[in-house]
Symmetry: C2
Subunit: 148 residues, 2 copies
């Protein structure tokens, strides 16, 4: 059973050290838009509300937001982050599970980097041979329109 949601007056909440969404955004570095989005997709649950229906965030919530932000910075997908959050909140997780998620993401990164590096290398060859002046002949277009 999750902890139940609470209802506060706005001023009361701030006195108790809770944050409205603007302050939570500043404190976590996550945009207001994305904070609401993360709640909508279930990454952040049981967010309290004031009587006026304003969202109210605890330190734990802000901590979770910073976790998500850091994970996004490292390129994890929302799907991975969902898993990582569950592992983070489960204090008896095996570290192997975490490492597995990270390893999967690293494989993805390596593939993407290799793909882009391959594009880049090809483009470097093509542009190396392109005059880049007023003349119309151009090995880049020759390649794109080529018979391959």
């Amino acid at each position: 059973m999750g902890k139940s949601e609470s209802v506060f007056e706005h001023a009361d909440a701030l006195e108790r050290g809770l944050l409205d969404i603007g302050r939570a955004s500043t404190a976590s570095g996550v945009s207001i838009k994305m904070i609401r989005h993360y709640e909508a997709i279930g990454l952040l649950t049981n967010v309290a509300r004031t009587h006026a229906n304003y969202r109210v965030y605890s330190d734990t919530d802000v901590h979770t937001l910073r976790f998500i932000k850091r994970a996004r910075t490292l390129g994890f997908s929302m799907h991975d982050i969902r898993d990582l959050l569950a592992l983070w909140q489960n204090k008896s997780r095996p570290s192997a599970s975490v490492k597995k998620v990270a390893a999967g993401h690293m494989d993805e990164l390596k593939k993407k980097i290799a793909g882009m590096q391959s594009m880049l290398t090809t483009l470097q060859h093509l542009t190396h041979n392109c005059h880049g002046d007023q003349r119309p002949d151009c090995p880049i277009l020759d390649d794109l329109g080529g018979p391959a």
Copy 2:
């Protein structure tokens, strides 16, 4: 003034060396879905139709589709491809214009590669120190949930 669209019977069109969308897809390597999409966004214009409203493709159309596919393979955005197609079809373009588009894309690629490489390096450090066994302590989660 673009060349006007023509209307054929399906069998007639095939006899004249024209292709229906399925054959154009096979010949170009572009999916049927994407062929229609490229037409919808204006990359492929003046596509002929049969009486039954089936699309009919000329060799030139298929050549254009292969151009687009090759450009996508090299990671160009649809926006860039629009420009590249116009340059390709303009036989008096300056090669400098083509090179400029390519250079811009290469800069994008370099930035993305650098970003991903940075993520990867960080993850390699973190996973290097993670036991990856049944124990719960994990430097990956420590980093994500850390005070930074």
